[in-house]
């Protein structure tokens, strides 16, 4: 018997040096085969191709000072406009002395959201009412009236316009979407047919055609002496659009609830609305969280479409600056990059939060 293979000292021998530690990790994750090795080198090449020039362009050889595009003389990015134009990117043509109203609206959003999302906060009884009142407070702050100077909605612009259109769409589309999803499952044929027609029609056409309807046709539908604000019309259409998608997401959640739950509700003698509110919807909404959040993100991104009908959101402001004679040809990439970063930060953090929420709720269920 070959005793060298048996270790009687009581300790097991350490694993080979090339399977543990950094070396082991590199071997396993980067060079575990010919294809893998090729991919590693290929990625390194790509990174080398992208990162240094990008850093050089955005930071190291960029211009940060100047008053017009001609002042940017280096090869890199031209960030000189940031100083004078960032306010327009954020607030559009909103009067500068009223910026605090926008800021306050956004600041108040956080407690309003927190009271909806979390249960165990102090003063939660009042907090709930605050959340309910928030849309009205926001509208009051932004538009004015009742003591505040009135500001017409055509002054809204920049990223603030995206936020206003997106948030109002999000707040309104969820309840409408829930009603539509319930309508689609209803036993009453008229309600079911109407819901299905509405959902499928809205999902079948692009948002831009609905925005055309909002801008061109909606005025024809209304009595001659009534006129709706342009922004309100757009918000109505964005909300309807998002609620059709929301309805489909929630329908998926409703279908995942076993029949026993519906029957249990009936057996308890609950009315339709009671069993929906207490039994079915809490479970269905929990399942549909990823879909709901994705719809929110999609809706928020879709708010950029307002530039096609002549409103100046952050993308519109970027275009305005790009076609400004002072800056023409100098700020194309820079302005897009800034707008993209704004959207990326918000959408990416929402999606990360939803993954987090999903995980948390999932452990609760087990």
């Amino acid at each position: 018997m070959n005793t060298t293979n048996l270790n009687y000292s009581g300790k097991s021998r350490p694993p080979p040096a090339n399977t543990v530690g950094i070396v082991g990790w590199v071997r396993a994750n980067l060079f575990s085969g010919p294809l893998n090795t090729f991919l590693t080198f290929f990625s390194c090449y790509l990174l080398w191709l992208i990162i240094p020039p990008l850093l050089d362009w955005t930071v190291f050889s960029a211009d940060f000072t100047g008053n017009v595009g001609r002042d940017c003389t280096t090869e890199g990015a031209c960030w000189a406009w940031l100083d004078q134009r960032i306010a327009q990117f954020l607030y559009g043509f909103y009067p500068a002395e009223a910026y605090w109203r926008v800021n306050l609206t956004i600041l108040l959003l956080f407690p309003a959201l927190a009271y909806v999302l979390f249960d165990n906060l102090p003063f939660s009884a009042y907090g709930r009412w605050f959340s309910v009142a928030y849309p009205f407070i926001a509208a009051f702050l932004l538009v004015g009236g009742f003591g505040l100077t009135g500001i017409t909605t055509d002054k809204f612009g920049g990223f603030m316009l995206n936020l206003v259109a997106g948030l109002s769409g999000i707040i309104l589309s969820l309840p409408i979407g829930i009603l539509l999803a319930l309508g689609r499952q209803s036993k009453l044929p008229a309600i079911r047919i109407l819901s299905v027609t509405f959902i499928e029609f809205i999902r079948g056409v692009p948002l831009i055609t609905l925005l055309f309807v909002a801008v061109i046709i909606l005025q024809l539908f209304l009595p001659p002496d009534v006129s709706l604000d342009q922004l309100v019309r757009v918000m109505i259409m964005i909300t309807l659009f998002a609620s059709a998608y929301m309805a489909e997401v929630i329908r998926g959640g409703l279908q995942a609830i076993p029949n026993g739950q519906y029957e249990a509700g009936q057996a308890m003698g609950l009315s339709y609305w009671q069993s929906m509110r207490l039994i079915i919807l809490p479970q269905a909404l929990k399942i549909s969280i990823p879909g709901i959040v994705n719809t929110f993100i999609g809706l928020f991104k879709d708010t950029t479409l307002v530039i096609i009908i002549g409103l100046f959101d952050i993308l519109g402001q970027a275009r305005v600056l790009q076609t400004n004679p002072d800056w023409m040809g100098k700020v194309d990439h820079e302005t897009f990059l800034l707008a993209a970063i704004f959207f990326f930060i918000i959408c990416f953090s929402i999606s990360r939060y939803s993954i987090n929420l999903e995980k948390r709720l999932d452990t609760n269920r087990e």
Binding site: A28, N29, L30, S32, N36, L39, T40, F42, S43, C44, L46, L47, K187, L188, P189, A190, I191, L194, F201, R203, G204, V205, P206, L207, I208, T209, F212, V213, I216, I217, Q219, L220, F221, L222, P223, P224, I297, K301, D302, T304, L305, I307, I308, L315, R319, Q322, G329, D332, H333, F336, A339, A340, F343, F344, C347, F348, S351
Partner: protein, 396 residues
Amino acid sequence: MARNGKQTQSKAFRLINLWTDERSRGLIFQFALVLGLFIFIAFIVSNTIQNLKTAGMASGYDFIFDTASFDINQRLIEYSSTSTYGRAIIVGGLNTIVVAIFGIFASTVIGFIAGILRLSSNFLISRLVSVYVEFIRNVPVLLQIIFWWVILLALPKVRQSLSIGDSIFLNNRGVRLPSPIFEDGSLLVLSAFIIGILLSLGIKIWSKRRQELTGETLPVGIISIILIVVLPVLIYKLSGQPIGLETPVRGKFNLRGGFNVTPEFVALWLALSTYTAAFISEIVRSGILSVSTGQKEAARALGLKQNITMKKIVLPQALRVIIPPLTSQYLNLTKNSSLAVAIGYQDIVSIGDTVLNQSGRVLEVISIFMVFYLTLSLITSAFMNWYNKKIKLVER
């Protein structure tokens, strides 16, 4: 109590019974809804008629026979500024379909590659692809479309065109590609190509039947390549190379020959396909992850090779999960192509917008948009449902 009361009173008709009885309540509810809807529609129609009358706007679809008198730079069918509005709208519809088909093709290819790479055990490449997916997914597609367009317009002027291998030229008027020239005998090559495809399909079906009976397999892949690629190339060489390429040549002021793809098309296509591909890659990734590892282990236990495991075990099961969301991505891409109006690619919305401004028939033009997109949606989802059913059958 209530139930007893209801039973004793059931003979004597009472108005309240209509509300307490579930069926009649449902009927009342639906009746009220339909009535309300009719009143609402009547309200809208009467307002519209009145508004149209006061604005002095004409209505009706007869405008599609009027002369359009504007030009379209990308057209698949014959069109000139003397053609009718109707024809202009058809040209626009075809342009939408073209960009959608090219976009669907590219986004599927990029999306599948990215989805598989994201699952790769290679740390570097999977992170790199994640960055691409997350960044593209979280930035509005309209921004990306305009971004690519601005980049393409910033390319050098025609006289300083960038060239790739002296056959493809890039400039601020688009991309100039070599165009194929068909001479006599090219029909032979094309038919050889089509026959090759049909033959290899036939062989595939036959070999499958044979495999089910005898268990023997044929190298179908190699035979197909020979039939589809080698055979037409052979005929091409033998018949004296009847299909040529006309490469663009630098002239004094302009490029001659070849055909030009507009920057609008390229920008729209690039943005739509990379954007949709990011979503498709997520779908592919979750589809592959949804196949349980037991399936792969079972295949390995049976001694199947890696690529056969992927092809015969993992992908067929993953596809069942992938197809339904993939369909909605294709539909999204088609609908997103309407954003072309922002950069002036002449799709149906963009041309329709011009028609709408010239003719003033707002209701009619927008109804044409909606019917067009609804039809496209229905056709795409019908096709994908058929395909979905087909793979479901294969699986059992």
